[in-house]
Symmetry: C2
Subunit: 339 residues, 2 copies
DNA sequence: CAAAATTAAGGGAACGATCCCAAAATCACA
DNA sequence: TGTGATTTTGGGATCGTTCCCTTAATTTTG
């Protein structure tokens, strides 16, 4: 019931706490026999080092903050799994904060994490105006930050994990062209997020190349939720803008749009083909399943966790940007493989 | 940069650390003027109490473990929001563990949480044989546990948050009957989970009442994932068992089944109506949207958090079972409102 | 106005571990 | 067998806070 401490072992074995401690850290100033005795006694009495004492001693909480816009889609939770894969075996705990796509909540979450004394933060920005001042404040406090997926503009010197957004976006758009689509809508992401811009530029470049670009087809939803994807599709339809396919910033937006279209009786993919950028399980649970650019989400989390650990071990290590490779997955929403 | 401690304030104000401390806790043995001075200085220098020191002092980590089968569907993340609503303002941190529907991982997660020194655990069981011995071990260590949603059999004396499963299940099945269905499949949950049994009994009771019960329609999927729902539907079809509707243990199973049926060209709800028990956002993002028994997920999390806090404050308080009320939501997958 | 009662402030142990420094035990070797 | 070198152990400060126990200052009271 009561926790066994080093002092208990010390009494039990009639040895000083220093000696007991030496048995656990790899200290050469201890007799091998003594070490064995201590380890056995520890085993027998069920000794476990007290993480709170170590936290206090070393000034490290061994907590890492994980800030995401939401956890209701599988995106963040899949990345989280990667993060946990790396951090749990190292004895680090992960504390999750959902900013619900609201920069104000995101700000509060960062403050709370600071309060909680986290040793590092892994963050995916929420979609609106970003909290540059806050990020800087956190980092000045000596808490390393690693960004993934939604990356801030270049100004900030931080480690980042991203994918080759522009290229893959353009390839996916090219795929739509290859299946004969000419009026390709892009439901874009917010301008405050760098990779939203990258995906837009990939989209624009390839359409311009084929002479198909039409600014009326580049639309910015009011937010990142299903409802917003839905609203965007509705607006297109009601404005009478013709389109034969949609490439969306996220699975969520794509599915929102898809649902509206299905309700209105559009046939998918015959009348409107759909593709998105994300790579969550959601793409496979809707009907028809969605073609998308699949990001290596678990790997993304693992990379982010590794980067944050690097910064924790050596705060002066240079910031890194790791670019992972995303894969194009063709599903029924775009009629199978491209020619 | 460097953390301000009580000692810094002590030097700055030429007061003992005791006095400084008294200004923060509500101690009457301090002159109001002194208190004001201290508080002002704290504000000015940016003093924040060190949670790690408090943890050590009080033997409480202020960490709560949250163990769930998975986070890739919105179920757990919505409950999590409720948990966070209650716990974050109290200065508690939430550590999430995904057991991936695997009892072995669940076991390891519990050990890890014990290692992490959590003050309490909120848990939703994974679907397979449950780790009774482990739950008991954790509780013997003095860590209170609160179960929600998937509840263990009665043997365990723990606090629980559940919904009125049997009744709502029977009402939903009755709804299917009211829209003229006679061959109602139930994709049931695992026998090791009490509310799976409850839902089955609600299903069976109402069908028996109407003389519609057929054991061939009560099927147990091989797991809890989309794929398993899908497989179950496939098997029914391939075995040539006639059915005109499905009532599933979770949204996930229902959607898995639905996708298979849609692919095979079944019209939903005309040929097969679908309903489930869960209440996640997923039900609304598929087409047609799914009728389901909607559990108050956020409230569930809030209740679980409140119960665990009660046990933390007073370990001897009696275990409680709180039953929340679930709502039936009728959507297009069952053709609108019942008559 | 002195003694008693009250109020305010300070000193230092405690929580559990590590680690520096000193002390003791062992060993090597002349 | 004694001296110095080496190995092994112990003592105690430290991290930041609270809280018990004194001590000092102030107020009340006869």
């Amino acid at each position: 019931m009561k926790r066994i401490t080093i002092k208990d072992l010390s009494k039990y074995l009639a040895l000083s706490t220093s000696t007991i401690s030496r048995a656990f850290v790899d200290d050469k100033h201890i007799h091998p026999d003594t070490k064995r005795t201590v380890l056995e006694a520890a085993q027998k009495l069920g000794y476990r080092p007290n993480p709170m004492a170590l936290s206090l001693k070393y000034g490290k909480s061994k907590n890492i903050g994980f800030v995401v816009p939401e956890m209701t889609t599988p995106f963040s939770s899949t990345v989280l799994r990667g993060v946990q894969n790396i951090l749990y075996p190292l004895g680090y705990r992960v504390i999750i904060m959902q900013s619900e796509e609201d920069p104000e909540i995101e700000r509060k979450n960062l403050l709370l994490l600071e309060e909680f004394n986290v040793d590092g933060i892994i963050i995916n920005l929420c979609h609106e105006t970003y909290n540059q001042a806050n990020y800087q404040h956190v980092m000045q406090r000596g808490i390393p930050m690693v960004f993934f997926d939604r990356i801030p503009p270049n100004a900030l010197d931080v480690s980042k994990v991203l994918v080759n957004d522009a290229i893959k976006a353009s390839l996916m758009v090219e795929h739509l062209i290859s299946i004969g689509r000419k009026r390709i809508v892009h439901l874009r992401g917010p301008a405050s997020i760098r990779n939203a811009e990258e995906r837009v530029s990939g989209y624009r470049r390839i359409l311009t190349k084929y002479g198909l670009f039409d600014p009326a087809l580049l639309v910015e939803p009011k937010g990142m939720l299903f409802q917003h994807g839905r609203d965007a599709a509705k607006e297109l339809v009601e404005k009478g803008i013709a389109f034969d396919s949609i490439f969306a910033f996220t699975d969520t937006l794509a599915i929102g749009a898809m649902n509206y279209l299905l309700e209105k009786g559009y046939r998918i993919p015959e009348q409107v083909a759909l593709a998105s950028f994300s790579g969550t399980e959601m793409a496979t649970i809707v009907h028809p399943p969605l073609s998308n650019v699949q990001q290596p989400l678990v790997e993304m989390g693992e990379t982010a966790a590794t980067l944050v650990m690097e910064k924790i071990k050596d705060p002066d290590v240079a910031s890194k940007s790791v670019t992972l490779d995303a894969k194009l997955i063709y599903r029924a929403s775009t009629l199978g493989m491209p020619v």
